[in-house]
Symmetry: D2
Subunit: 343 residues, 4 copies
């Protein structure tokens, strides 16, 4: 049975698993000095440009925290949305590893606004305040919504004009680019992003994320940061082989598009069910909805998922995520279970 709790509940795409098995051939030097890692790096450079610097890590929290560490000293701060994963879902990992403050703003539909960043500029130069240095946005957002390209460009321009840099948490960048019809470079580097956390796990990999630098000088110390940050894989070929598979023949896009498409279907289907209100724009692979509280418990017995906002008590907001392997049958079965739960 498929789950709609999170896109990390899915397994590994068959082509990725095949690549893992094929990489299990003989011995290879550890820590990235192997042919698989060279090949994966080249694949990334085909997408992002020949001067992109690429580093693999184990998981998304680390991709974000280490990328931010490359951009930010402890007395500097990171500007983000209150709903940002780095702000609410990483148990304080950024504060712990960076030693820095996160300066967060209430953000409609999870999107940071240029006005937010502008309001922090007065802190610059005042030693009593943590110094704004890095703007971090999530594309697509934790709420499944999308920044439009011009919105990202505006944030990048404002950041750069004030000596700051733009980091993108791209745990689901594939879903964003697929939805917007962009190439990966168009979705990131071309809009002024300086460093990208490129997600693999949620789009069908077993484990592994990449930190991609578009300005190589920012990457100068990153190999040390990664090692000290406990993210240097000894048998790195197994991360690399997965990424090569993802970047071959557009597997990343095909997988993301399927998840997005199923979210559209899910949203359309549940919207027609009385008592169900879709609460946010469905722009990628997430559907947020309010349903009667009694239906939550009944439905969770058959399909586990998370309550996003428990208030008001009688109509909480829930989150349903689609994955690369979600099918129309899965959606229909879920919708039927929801109808049953609402009876």
């Amino acid at each position: 049975m498929r789950s709609f709790a999170s896109d990390n509940n899915s397994g590994v795409h068959p082509l990725v698993l095949t690549a893992l098995c094929e990489a299990n051939s003989g011995h290879a030097i550890g820590y990235g000095d192997d042919p698989w890692t060279k090949e994966a790096t080249q694949a990334f450079r085909r997408e992002f440009g020949p001067d992109a610097e690429v580093f693999f890590v184990f998981l998304g929290t680390a991709a974000n925290v280490l990328a931010l560490n490359a951009l930010t000293r402890p007395h500097e701060c990171v500007i983000c949305a209150q709903s940002a994963h780095i702000n609410v879902d990483e148990c304080g990992a950024p504060e712990r590893f960076l030693g820095s403050k996160l300066l967060s703003f209430p953000a409609i539909n999870g999107k940071l606004d240029v006005k937010d960043v502008e309001s922090a500029l007065h802190l610059l130069g005042n030693e009593h305040h943590a110094q704004p240095k890095t703007v971090s946005i999530t594309q697509c957002t934790e709420l499944g919504t999308l920044y439009q390209p011009r919105e990202i460009r505006a944030l990048a321009d404002l950041a750069h004009a004030n000596g700051m840099r733009l980091h993108m948490d791209g745990a689901r960048i594939g879903n964003a680019a697929a939805s917007l019809g962009q190439s990966l470079a168009q979705a990131t580097r071309d809009l002024g992003v300086d460093v990208l956390s490129f997600g693999g796990t949620k789009n069908g990999m077993m484990y592994g994320e990449a930190v991609v630098f578009f300005r190589s000088e920012l990457a100068a110390q990153f190999r040390y940061i990664r090692k000290q940050g406990m993210q240097l894989a000894s048998k790195m070929r197994y991360v690399s082989a997965q990424f090569t598979a993802m970047l071959t023949n557009g597997l990343w896009r095909e997988s993301a598009a399927q998840a997005n498409s199923m979210a559209q279907l899910l949203a359309r289907t549940v919207s027609s069910i009385p008592g169900v209100t879709v609460t946010r724009p469905v722009e990628t692979n997430a559907v947020f909805a309010r349903i009667p509280a009694r239906a939550v418990h009944a439905l969770q017995k058959r399909f586990f998922f998370y309550v996003w906002d428990p208030t008001p008590e009688n109509t909480p907001e829930v989150r349903w995520m689609c994955s690369f392997d979600t099918t129309e049958d899965d959606v229909n079965a879920f919708a039927q279970a929801l109808r049953d739960a609402l009876k």
Copy 2:
């Protein structure tokens, strides 16, 4: 071609790979609330006792650093050998994450002595000095040597008598237990070890290590430490499935014993080659030797390996490691290449 550079140059044991493929079945709740993780936890408890607390992480550096973090506050210090992996090979990760000093001692053949720990006891209670709190030993050591059971017991007793705890870096605990003919519990818990970093990667896994607590009260905060330490795997079933395979039918012991056995063969074989001097006791899967400098370069062209001690220049000390998949043919081919390089 097999490498003798490190046991992490080997690939994944076929049975582990099979377990990974079999785990790729349907959806599963993330972060460890899945059947595979339950099964692996039970397997660990069969080895270590029903009250052992087990947590999976991605890599050995993290297993060590997070285990130490569970035992040590920033103003406390960790006592270790100068040659300890935590002291020299983790790019300062312990100092960064713990905020603590490592108090290291020159240690013959990599083994910390009770006299070392005793010499630090006078620091206790003096606010000017970091307070000794955790003793960390590596079994087998980074030099391939073994602590005898009574040596570990003596360190544990001394530590406990002074309000301290004993951590074991068991990146190669399988090699140690196999060599000493111990069960995993006999090699660790039964000797007074409080927390164990249990290595998987070097013994044939793709990735994944475990932190095992033998006193459950020490584990109380560890799930938060792991998350904040950027080591909570979302698709944890794939780590868990590997560990279950390792703990089934003694795969861990069979793999470690093969590596140990090949190291014995390698040591015997190269000892008979003029110009080669084995420099340390060969007690597990490592062989250290001094060979003429000119032979190093010639041999490295065919088999990559590391120079351990570059002095004196003309006869540096090198390290050769055997793996679960090293064969007699590999050893013989390597020995022949060494003979050729010495001509």
Copy 3:
């Protein structure tokens, strides 16, 4: 000329300076093992109870950060008001030293509400989120307002009922206690406060603050935290002598009451000036007001002070602070200068 910019613009009270000079007698063992520190500790225990644990540090930021460190592990978080000094005016020192997240709430007139803390309770037990552990309030607040005793008691009870502790930033606790007619113990310990940052500098000392623990078990490691936190004074007698002076014959209360009284006079006086609007309750020694922007610059030429809120541009909010040595003549001169600036 007296300044109204901050109560730290004032000098040292003559009785404190006398105490400093008298302490300059012969040699004394460093780091607190001296008669002056014993005497000051006894003075604190007369105020707060014989089991209070008292530690002196150099400055208020350190008192707060180290006190919070005694209560909070890195994966735990500190709940505070957005306007809290620890949140906005310490350049990220808490995040740096603690490695912890601050979870801040918009707080009317700078006062944290029980509802704020209640809204964070759902985070408890979820490893993805920093765990609420310490509630930190400032009395009097950074906005010069006061928590009523029952409000502090309610926060303490809620915290304690949920395994949390209550820290009070008492940089101006003297002003609060004087205004509320409380003893120091009534203002803190008797309301459930667990640890207090007791301010000296802003109330007429040269330097020096105290961290006072009302539950001695929380102080067990504090001497090491203070040393590692770079706050252990070698010539501690000079901090101690100042505190003894402050706690003798109610000097702390007399000084604070004078500052409070002058703030009342200032508020009354400027309220009658057309174009001036006092914006917040004047409950201690701070007066916040909105005045026309053009008057700000004119007045700042004669009396330096800070603009608190620059929006809206034409009527910014400014802050005026009174000190232990502010006189009626000072207030009248300032008010006259304000009238001149408004012409």
Copy 4:
């Protein structure tokens, strides 16, 4: 009674106390924007050059840690002597605040050698090891010995040739310069020192140390580091006024020379007492000696001092320090007490 336990057991020089009292005049803007701080900064620049950047902090541990923080990122390491104050007497403050490893070497008479630094150069560029970045020496050393100017120059040249910087812990730099007949610039900047911790407290100040940068680009972020490091004094004028006094009419040199001179007298006097062996070169204001254990306890009853090395038990090594206010009578009284204790 004067103590020989530490130069921080002494009080405040009368001229410094006078300066403190004179600074207690009216109000002044906080945090260093005051005339006293301007004056003290100018005094430093007269000593060290017009482009020296000077920052005041409260204590020596902070001067060292924050100076090192300006030079060193977490994955980089600090090379120092094992006996360095930063390594043994700061309760792990450097590791905590920097997040960096200290790489320490056994150092004869407390002096780091170029060979020590050379032996660490092979770590450069290897991501598994903390990267050598900062060399830290103490002048005079914790053992009262002196680096000769050419020795410091050699360390500076080696450091700079390898992309590293040289920090000097000058807690007793006055004693060193006085002994060597150098100006302060000759003792530091002219020898290639990049950043200096300039000690005040041990040479007759009440509190306060300075961090002096000789390459202004290294100071660019220091005001934020100081604030986040909990060392920004609000009433800074009182630190500044003390430093101005110290740098006026060579008070620093006169005070240091007196302490040095009394140490010479003490060494000469006790050397002639049977059973007393002076163990280290007496080059500044410290005398180290071995005396029979029974004499230690008898003497400590009359003059408190520290046992430096408790082994061997029957003739431990003790440390006696002279201060700016130590007199010939003090030395003679102490020597007599020692003779009595030895009877």
